[in-house]
């Protein structure tokens, strides 16, 4: 095999593994949209906030990795609940723009809290696996990326079990498909909404901690890129579709790494956005979109 082909496959592999974190962020955007038909622009910072709390716990206790990840998950779940209460709970149901704008306010607020607490400087995040590399044939797999991929798979499996094999999942799907009919069947939509915010928050916490440990540090500058990548992922997959978000995240990861390899950092995002624009115009429903948008 030529060097070029080797490199291309290597980049695709890295992108595929890293894309699993985009998939988790995308799931958060897509689930909230699926249930409420509203966009939560504060989801990226929810994940980031969780990661920062984990970092704080690590600095205070130097505790084991499990504790650090647990802190991220719980904190992000709590932030999710706060976002629901402040930005969605009291808003008129038929005017999604009010909630959209409120979540922008929340984005600014959490970002500023982070800047305030850290003086805006990037902070090192513990890397559980260090510089571990696995050799697979002629290719190298970064240990932390493989770890990220495995944990993401676990989270996705857990989510699948929750959505398709639990009463809460049943209620969530009911509200998502027919909010009024669900209410008539005795499901409280507000409680389901709050539950969805907590669940997506938990997922966001995992994603934040994984990204922190793979990148090696956290910075408030991550807030906007995380938001944008999550949105792109959700749209590529078709807003509201969880399998779509997974496929979209992996696709985005692969495309980004290939664009980085072929065109360099200056053009990487441009390639991503051109792909997105083409996708939106040519296939507005996304990869798995069933609704004609």
């Amino acid at each position: 095999m030529s060097d070029l082909a080797l490199d291309v496959v290597q980049q695709a592999l890295n992108g595929f593994l890293f894309g699993s974190s985009y998939a988790l962020i995308g799931i958060g955007f897509t689930m909230i949209f699926g249930v409420m038909e509203k966009l939560n622009l504060a989801f990226g910072v929810t994940a980031l906030g969780g990661a920062y709390v984990a970092l704080l716990v690590f600095q205070l206790t130097r505790g084991p990795l499990v504790l650090v990840f647990l802190a991220a998950v719980l904190a992000a779940g709590l932030i999710g609940l706060i976002v629901e209460f402040t930005c969605f709970h009291w808003m008129p149901r038929d005017y999604p723009l009010a909630a959209l704008m409120a979540t922008v306010g929340m984005l600014f607020f959490i970002e500023e809290v982070i800047v305030h607490a850290t003086n805006g400087m990037p902070r090192a995040f513990p890397a559980p696996l260090g510089q571990l590399m696995l050799e697979v044939g002629p290719w190298l797999v970064r240990g932390d990326l493989a770890f990220m991929f495995l944990v993401s798979l676990l989270v996705m499996a857990g989510l699948w079990a929750l959505v398709y094999h639990s009463r809460l999942g049943l209620a969530t799907r009911a509200v998502s498909q027919q909010p009024v009919a669900a209410q008539l069947c005795g499901i409280a939509p507000r409680r389901v909404n709050a539950a969805v915010f907590v669940i997506t928050g938990l997922i966001g916490g995992v994603a934040g901690a994984l990204i922190g440990s793979a990148v090696g540090n956290l910075s408030p500058l991550l807030a906007l890129p995380l938001t944008v990548k999550g949105l792109v992922t959700a749209v590529l997959g078709g807003l509201g579709s969880i399998p779509g978000a997974i496929a979209g995240g992996l696709l985005l990861g692969v495309v980004e790494y290939q664009a980085l390899y072929f065109f360099g950092i200056g053009y990487r995002d441009m390639v991503t956005y051109l792909l997105l624009f083409a996708f939106l115009v040519g296939r507005p429903g996304g990869l798995f979109g069933s609704k004609g948008v």
Binding site: P92, A98, G105, F109, V115, L231, V235, G266, Y267, F277
Partner: protein, 304 residues
């Protein structure tokens, strides 16, 4: 005095930007492309005076027109996508524009200075005001001439049949098209007008700042454009003005709070949206103030 003049000039750019988002929001579309149009307007007008030696007024208008052309072009693909998908599509547009300017190199030498867009270093030397010895007061008055003209035009548009058509599309597309409103015309027209106004704002800003760089025209600027309109309210053209005042008073008026100001900023947006979800100046307020003239009792109909 200088400080207040320059603040007033800044208000002008922000109001224009808010109005450009406002006219698009009337049709129920949320566009993050306004920052892209703003960037295009500022680079075009900057090149017109600094490189091609145009006088100022045609240069500013050129910025607006080129912004409008891009608005028209973005308007068509945007018809395929609606709602939140449009947010993402227009976000992609703004980012692509930014990337193009990040890589665009088109400079000339004037004496010992390099003028023009120099890729990542930004666009230096848009010094028309300085070269012609304009005072701050004159710059402010010149900017506000455009602001007032656009405000007046939109005020008239809002109270005419065109305004009713745009609002009808924004309220309910299906109902609007079933009474014969052409959705394509309405949406593309709104996008074109928004592109023109954002282009004007960018053109004026470039001459005020004398240096622009693609870094200024990102997602944040686009977010502020819609924030002016959404927090201010879409009941009337006064909405975006109220939005600009709200944000500007927060940004410049809470300076005494130091770092805490930025924290309060996000909280106040959340509080405002909970208190007045449809914005400060919503349709209800306009009705109560008696500023709302009922649209003529003639049914809207489509031209053949």
């Amino acid at each position: 005095m200088e400080f207040y003049l320059s603040l007033l000039t800044l208000f002008g750019f922000r109001i224009l930007l808010g109005l450009s988002a406002y006219v698009v929001i009337l049709t129920g579309q949320i566009s993050l492309a306004q920052a892209g149009f703003y960037a295009i307007g500022s680079y075009t007008a900057g090149a017109a005076t600094a490189i091609w030696g145009w006088p100022i007024v045609p240069a500013i208008l050129l910025g607006g027109i080129v912004g409008g052309i891009f608005g028209f072009l973005v308007g068509f693909p945007a018809l395929r996508v609606r709602g939140l998908f449009l947010v993402i599509a227009t976000l992609a547009f703004t980012e692509i524009v930014r990337m193009v300017f990040l890589n665009l190199k088109y400079t000339i030498r004037v004496g010992d200075r390099t003028i023009g867009p120099a890729a990542g270093e930004g666009f230096r030397g848009i010094t028309y005001y300085f070269e012609n010895g304009w005072s701050s007061a004159r710059i402010m008055a010149f900017t506000w001439l455009f602001v007032l003209a656009v405000l007046l035009a939109m005020w008239i548009m809002d109270r005419s049949r065109a305004g009713a058509v745009l609002r009808a599309v924004g309220e309910d597309e299906l109902a609007a098209s079933s009474v014969g409103i052409n959705l394509t015309t309405a949406k593309v027209a709104a996008m074109t007008a928004g592109g023109f106004v954002a282009g004007l704002a960018g053109a004026l800003y470039a001459h005020y700042a004398s240096y622009v760089s693609q870094e200024d025209f990102g997602v944040l600027l686009a977010t502020f454009a819609i924030a002016y309109a959404l927090v201010g309210g879409t009941g009337s053209v006064l909405g975006p003005v109220a939005g600009v005042l709200f944000f500007s008073l927060l940004i410049d008026g809470l300076r005494f709070l130091g770092d805490w100001r930025n924290l309060l900023f996000g909280v106040l947006i959340i509080v405002m949206m909970n208190l007045r979800p449809h914005g400060i100046v919503d349709v209800g307020l306009i009705r109560r103030l008696g500023l709302w003239r009922r649209p003529p009792r003639k049914a809207a109909y489509a031209r053949d």
